[in-house]
Amino acid sequence: MISLAVARDLLLEAAARRWFLALGLALTGLLLLLLISLRLEVVDGALAATRLFGQPLHHSIQAADVALRPVFLVASQLVFWGGLCFGVLSCADFGPALLSPGRIEHLLSLPVRRWELLAGTFLGVLALALAGAVYASAGLVLVLGAKTGVWTGWPVVSAVLAALAFGSVYAGMLAVTVWVRSAALSAAAGASLVVLGLLATHRAALLDVMGPGVGRTFFAGLTSVVPPLGKLADAAGALASSAPFAPGGLVRLLAGTLAFAAALLAVAVWRFERRDF
């Protein structure tokens, strides 16, 4: 319960930050623009014509749900990678702000366990990522659903996947912050994890082209623990566009991602419990 109170405070703090106000306004503006400027003519479930800003877009007549698949695919990739990059930049300061002199002493004097503070911060950031991703994807589903009559919840599920992927990255950022209170270092750790996640996606192919040696062993070890974010993004895209995918593979991917985040959080809590402020 205390962790939820910490998470609630973080969300209140985020609501006052320009980063998140700008994101909310930008997403709302984009959705409104789409709502106003996009004209879709649907006849008997088929998309007959499309107009954007009054200009016709040429395409063959096809079923509306099929026509929307690439749109949802692109949107899911934007939410996934755009969300990761935005999250790394905009959330880098939450950990350092929590540990700032004059604030952490006060928080630690309250009847709050140290792990509850970290868990609350993590949950708050996760809720923030979920809110942003779900708002963008649900908004898109609503706009396109209203115009085509095609209603699907998969893009929203895909957005949840993106938020969980960011959760694993943020766990790393928080762990680094507990060692060194620096927003820049936290952002650098997040960016490094995103890059490593991309490399882990193509791990097998990269290992094939690397010569034997310490570097290869190091790379193999490092990319074996980092979640392959590209695979998660592909799975999110497949979910959003109703493309076939292997549920077992996704479950394994998610379990690995959550285990990675849990391990990093455990390291962060271990250090936080021992640190003096």
Binding site: M1, I2, A5, V6, R8, D9, L12, E13, A16, R17, S100, P101, G102, R103, I104, E105, H106, L107, L108, S109, L110, P111, V112, R113, R274, D276, F277
Partner: protein
């Protein structure tokens, strides 16, 4: 009376990242503060006062020694739930209102933040009219008052205040002193860390002097400021035979008073009888005392020796 807190042989050293000892912050501090007392910890900058508070509240981990806080361990949230703490430099969320901040503190203390209670707290610290203003526009004194209000959330049994009147104007200091007196009257224990000796003198009944991580003096304010075997006397206005008084051992003091050293009551009375024979009429007798600044200076000099 049970202790509000007791520390035994508290040691704390700060180390560099490479593990080398950088400084000794606390070097074997023993201190027990009974419940319901107002205790002031004074000392120069870097004496270890803030580190002491941090070890007391579990914010820093002592290297050695034991800390008992309200009958429990500082790591136990149930002990800390009964403590109100005002840090030296409290960082407040600038975008929030004071009411939102106090509500957050109440939630973190597992209390239900209710508006009447929060408003009453804001009234107590003189921020009744600022309840809806953003904290970022607050002056240093207003921030300090809000920090004090946060410390008072949940009517704590022990108030640990690090420089509570720092940045507060003289009128505000009087209000804070009255507020702390009310807390003391309700049975709360006050532990105040301040470099403002006059403030400490006015609020606290017992004082500890910390120097280089050691508690060099500790005791009631009266005992610490008393000059042993020395008395301050005042005679009725009129001609006083100064030379005769000096011959009896009296020394002129400030404001027309006299001081005399007397090892015991008979010696004091002999001196007073002698003064009366010179025609001097006694109207006031008191133990000679020093102010806290003198006590601190002397204690620090003794600690440095």
């Amino acid at each position: 009376m049970p202790a509000a807190f007791a520390v035994t042989s508290l040691h704390k050293r700060f180390r560099t990242r490479l593990g080398r000892t950088e400084s000794v912050a606390l070097d074997g501090v023993d201190l027990e503060v009974p419940r319901g007392e107002a205790f002031g910890l004074i000392g120069p900058n870097g004496a270890g006062k803030t580190t002491f508070i941090k070890c007391l509240l579990g914010i820093a981990h002592p290297d050695r020694g034991a800390v008992e806080l309200l009958g429990g361990r500082p790591e136990d949230p149930r002990s800390r739930a009964r403590v109100g703490y005002l840090p030296e430099r409290l960082t407040l969320p600038g975008a929030w209102t004071p009411r939102a901040f106090l509500a957050s503190v109440a939630r973190l203390k597992a209390l239900r933040p209710e508006r009447p209670g929060l408003d009453a707290l804001l009234r107590r610290v003189g921020l009744a009219d600022a309840g809806e203003r953003r904290i970022r526009g607050f002056s240093k004194g207003m921030r300090q008052r809000l920090g004090l209000a946060a410390a008072l959330v949940g009517t704590p049994d022990l108030l640990v205040l690090d420089e509570p009147t720092d940045g507060v104007d003289p009128l505000g200091r009087v209000e804070i002193r009255q507020l702390l007196a009310a807390e003391l009257a309700r049975g709360a224990t006050l532990f105040i860390n301040s470099h403002l000796l006059s403030e400490t003198e006015r609020i606290c009944t017992r004082i500890g002097i910390l120097s280089r991580g050691r508690l060099v003096r500790s005791g009631s304010l009266e005992v610490l400021t008393r000059v042993q075997q020395r008395w301050r006397v005042r005679f009725a206005p009129g001609p006083v035979a100064a030379e005769a008084l000096v011959a009896l051992g009296f020394e002129p003091a400030e404001g027309g008073a006299w001081e005399i050293a007397a090892p015991d009551a008979p010696a004091l009375n002999r001196a007073l009888d002698g003064a009366r024979t010179t025609g001097a009429l006694l109207v006031e007798l008191d133990r000679a005392s020093r102010d806290l600044e003198d006590v601190l200076t002397e204690a620090l000099a003794a600690g440095a020796a």
